[in-house]
Symmetry: C2
Subunit: 192 residues, 2 copies
DNA sequence: CGATTTTTTGAATCATATCAACGTACGTGG
DNA sequence: CCACGTACGTTGATATGATTCAAAAAATCG
């Protein structure tokens, strides 16, 4: 049940058997059906989630009711509204299962506790966040510098898995373009 | 000389006198004139920089020679090409002083060493990166969901200091719009 | 299989980019 | 400290990529 999480940790830092037990005790498992929510606009995000399997999306809704996907998360990824999680203030996001999913949940206080009892995890999260920082900056660079087609091509190159796995409209949203534009881009790219 | 850096650390984690000395020994100071570069396309980013004073920008150049600003950094901020710093591979970015500046530099190996000798710094960087994560996600959400005017207004609200301090063309670039568009937006906003 | 969601296609519209010209501010050397 | 040159900001006219809205086709789900 904790294999994937412990592997994720061991890939980045050494960890003792005793510490593994501590880790396991800090998490609970949640099973989700497709379209279940872990978080809705107005909720406070009191937990962070490690995805064991399935696929989650994190998105906002604008005034016009349009979804804007800020994050995907599949097996081995962490997800949650970090803003709300850190501040304790209400979120303006939705966290939804696109597929049946299982996630390991850790509450704010339990994570804080765990970080003091197993301090090597500070390093684990630091490394995780550094890698994430690089990935988000690549996304930002694409968003500010590229047109719709180039953004899509870079996305497919970087995440070939997602491109097949999730409905296109969410990819379009993630790239900041409309589903119609993405559809047209795909036929044009295929022609060449 | 190390005041601002030590304050930045002490705001997030407790640190002993001995550890402060270790920190100081790990850094060197660089003084920059306006338009000096700490990094150019093709260079490997072997250091991360903590800005003591002045203002730095991190940007890419596209095929058309247009700058795309991915990051600003003023007093108390960290900056560098994290991708190149972590991977050791060549950067495709430029890191330039917009004003005369002083930065504290720490080499890759020295930071790694420091993180083992002063492990509380793992926590410092983890917290720093978490806060940064929140900020970048806000930027991404703006980039994918808002038009030029709303992006600018959110920027001014979030960083009123920058809005006055740096040339508008860099703000436009940071927002993913042209300087002309930003200029027009500003007169329109002022009219209302 | 039928129902719902997603994708595609077309036509009109809109926001922003582009290009060019002009005015202004800025800082740098004499 | 002034004058010159360069960089920056503004404005206008036009072009363009992307959006919007609507409807049909295709895929997916229960």
């Amino acid at each position: 049940m904790y294999n994937l999480l412990l592997q994720s940790i061991e890939k980045k830092v050494p960890i003792t058997q005793a510490a593994k037990i501590e880790v396991q005790n800090a998490f609970t498992l949640k099973k989700l059906r497709k379209r279940d929510y872990l978080l809705r606009d107005g909720d406070i995000c009191n937990e962070m989630y490690f995805v064991k399997n399935g696929c989650m999306i994190l998105y906002t809704l604008d005034d016009g009711g349009n979804e804007h996907v800020t994050q995907f998360a599949v097996e081995g990824w962490w997800v949650g509204d970090m803003y709300s999680y850190l501040s304790g203030l209400p979120s303006n996001m939705f966290l939804e299962a696109l597929e049946p999913a299982e996630v390991l949940c850790i509450k704010r206080e339990d994570r804080e506790m765990l970080l003091t009892t197993v301090p090597i995890l500070e390093r684990y999260f630091r490394i995780l966040l550094e890698n994430n920082f690089v990935a988000i900056h690549r996304r930002v660079a694409n968003l500010i510098s590229k047109g719709a087609e180039d953004k899509y091509l870079d996305f497919v190159k970087l995440y070939p898995q997602f491109a097949l796995r999730v409905p296109q409209k969410y990819i379009a949203s993630y790239l900041g373009i409309t589903p119609e534009t993405l559809s047209r881009i795909r036929v044009q790219s295929a022609e060449r």
